[in-house]
Amino acid sequence: MTAEILYSIRNLDVEYDTRIGGVRAVDDLSLDIYKGEIIGLVGESGCGKSTLGKAMMRTISSPGHIVGGELWFEGVDLMTLSEKEMSSIRGNRVGMVFQDPMTSLNPLMKISDHLTEAIRTHYPKMSEAAARARAVEMVKDLGIREERIDDYPHQFSGGMRQRIMIALVLALNAALIIADEPTTALDVIVEAQFLDLLRDLREEFELTILLITHNIGVVAELADRVAVMYAGKVAEVAPVEPAFLDTKHPYSRGLLRSVPNIDVDNQELYKMTGAPPNLIAPPSGCRFHPRCPYAVDLCTDDEPRLLDVSGDGHLASCWIYSDALHRPMDPEHV
């Protein structure tokens, strides 16, 4: 792949302090995001995908904190920036859309205030009137009537609020949008509309979108690439077609196949055994080995690395594909 890398996560560690010890929610994770793509980040609840999203903007709040790693964005390691410099990147160059649009807006502020505040935070020289004009333009672009801009958040429906959240990101010239479960709180029809909107906007504004979700269907429909996370690590990264059709990692298979498919009759729904590991005391070796049907001794002892398994950017971290244990998966199990 020749595309330009927009955001590169290198060996990121994020830990949460709890009463009984530190929890590594993100553990030595590396991931590249290319310019102009929509990359879907999927995984079970608690695998660290939301934490990763927040860490990318350095907005992890206590008791969590970034322990180490590098976050390269537009030629700068964000970890080296001061809080003030980081603030000017947040919202301005990297925007975030949250899970629940009902609670992501300050109930005491008008929509216009939200927008003008965001614009004027990053362009302090812009006049109040100019900021407002831009806000109006933005809102109209997203299909909300101009006269509603002075309403309060509670007067909008969930779908409209999510559009306002997008407007808040687009009002600035964000290059990357991190969307953390943006459709979970929406009903199916609104969700479809919202996804269409996202696709259009990406064309119009040349956006790069990191779509964090546990909804595999949304990813299949929208994403260019898929990254699968398990227990704070990346299990597999692949372009969307091979990710679904030629799944490499045993965990990804379980995850991607746990979605019912109406095209296939009589499909036996795939159940994964066991529960996600306890991150206070994660399993040794490969973190998936206690639940993995293919686990061998090596898996309990050593941690596999994320390797390009097919030579075309399809990465997986599983001993099956290493030279140490070259044993292709039995296609019968698919």
């Binding site: 009463r19 009984i20 066991g274």
Partner: protein
């Protein structure tokens, strides 16, 4: 097609196995690792509560004096050894006891003006008279008190035989005795008192402050526990009933309870206590009325939310009666919150009880009660700081103990309750 993933039974987590094997004590002890500060709060306050309950049952463990008796001199500061009141006589006419003067007509006795010795010697004379009467004698010890401006004048008076003897405090006498060779100190006016010190001092009528504190614990706990229990027994069933049945019954009681709740409870307690008159039962009634709405509101709120829950709906669908649903499906769920409220409530009731007796509306004025002691102490704030300091600390500690216990439990069992 066989898939090994489908077969595997998820292994039970090790911690669940471990938990099943440890005893209750071990579990509570291990709680400190998980609950941290809140666990310590609960443990420390439990010990404090246990300590206060122990004192309430055995006040004499703390201080053996009778809280209603005068056991020492008045206004004796904490830990001080009291000045003895001693009798000064001429060396040539020693006195063993005041009983020697029985039957004599008004024995002239020297005192210094303004010193407490005149009262003390008089009461000693009365005591001796009573003793004589008990032995069958009808003779009395009668004194004629002669007041001198200064101690020196009195000592001269004794030397010049103006009076039979003089009474003064030993510490004041000590530096002067050298200049009056013909005088000697015969001894304390009475063998009983004097010489003893009191850890928290004595009050305006010579009662031991510490023993009044210890006995006051009993009063405070009786008021706290019974008043809270009383409101619990009324508030909880009413709340259950109103929350579960709803409708007019609910609206009627909620309006009354909300009105009571919004009104300053102390004022209402003052009114009720004033009308009923001073007695401990009346104080309990007055306080109990205040806290009924607290239980009512919490229980009604929880009943309303559990009413909608699946397990109650399931019970309804299999035809359980209203009473059994309330008793078996809803009541058990409100017990933890009620227990927490109960603990905090005891603290509030003790505070209110102390306030009532401070205002002079609660208990009969001789009761060894912290509020009464504080009110009395205020009159003597200029000369005896210890009278208002220690009862206040006692109230604060007991309230702290019950509040911390309730809050710690709340934080552990039901953090949401805090907001209400």
């Amino acid at each position: 097609m066989h898939d090994p993933m489908l077969d595997e039974v998820p292994p039970e987590d090790q911690w669940q196995v471990d938990l099943g094997q440890v005893g209750l004590f071990r579990r509570v002890l291990n709680g400190r690792r998980w609950y941290g500060v809140d666990w310590w709060m609960v443990v420390i306050s439990s010990f404090m509560v246990a300590f206060f309950i122990l004192i309430a049952f055995f006040p004499t463990l703390i201080s053996s004096y009778d809280p209603l008796e005068q056991v020492g001199p008045r206004f004796l500061p904490p830990g001080d050894v009291p000045d003895e009141e001693v009798i000064v006589v001429r060396v040539d006419s020693p006195i063993d006891s005041l009983a020697e003067f029985a039957g004599e007509d008004r024995v002239p006795t020297g005192v210094v003006q303004g010193a407490p010795s005149s009262e003390d010697i008089r009461s000693e004379a009365d005591r001796v008279t009573d003793e004589l009467a008990a032995e069958g004698s009808d003779e009395r010890v009668r004194l004629k008190i002669v007041r001198y401006e200064t101690l020196d004048e009195m000592l001269v008076g004794v030397t010049d035989k103006e009076v039979e003897f003089g009474v003064a405090s030993s510490s004041e006498l000590a530096p002067l005795m050298g200049s009056y060779p013909e005088l000697e100190i015969s001894g304390p006016i009475s063998g009983e008192k004097g010489g003893k010190s009191f850890p928290l001092g004595t009050n305006q009528i010579g009662q031991d402050v510490l023993s009044r504190l210890a006995w006051g614990t009993r009063i405070a706990l009786i008021i706290g526990f019974t008043a809270s229990l009383f409101s619990l027994f009324i508030g909880v069933p009413l709340g259950l009933l109103a929350g579960y049945t709803g409708g007019k019954f609910d609206r009627f009681f909620t309006l009354i309870m909300d009105s009571l709740y919004a009104f300053p409870g102390l004022i209402l307690a003052i009114a009720i206590a004033a009308v009923l008159g001073p007695s401990i039962v009346n104080v309990i009634v007055a306080i109990a009325v205040l806290y009924i709405p607290t239980y009512y509101r919490i229980v009604r709120g929880q009943t309303l939310s559990t009413k909608e829950s699946l397990h109650v709906e399931a019970a309804v669908s299999i035809g359980a009666t209203k009473v059994s649903i309330m008793r078996r499906y809803i009541f058990p769920l409100v017990i933890p919150s009620v227990a927490i409220i109960f603990s905090v409530n005891i603290a509030d009731a003790i505070l209110t009880g102390a306030a009532l007796s401070f205002l002079g509306l609660g208990l009969p004025p001789t009761t060894p009660d912290w509020g009464i002691d504080l009110a009395r102490g205020q009159e003597f704030i200029q000369r005896a700081w210890w009278l208002i300091t220690f009862p206040g600390i006692a109230v604060m500690l007991i309230v702290l103990a019950f509040t911390m216990l309730g809050e710690g439990l709340m934080e552990i069992f039901n953090p949401k309750l805090r907001k209400q």
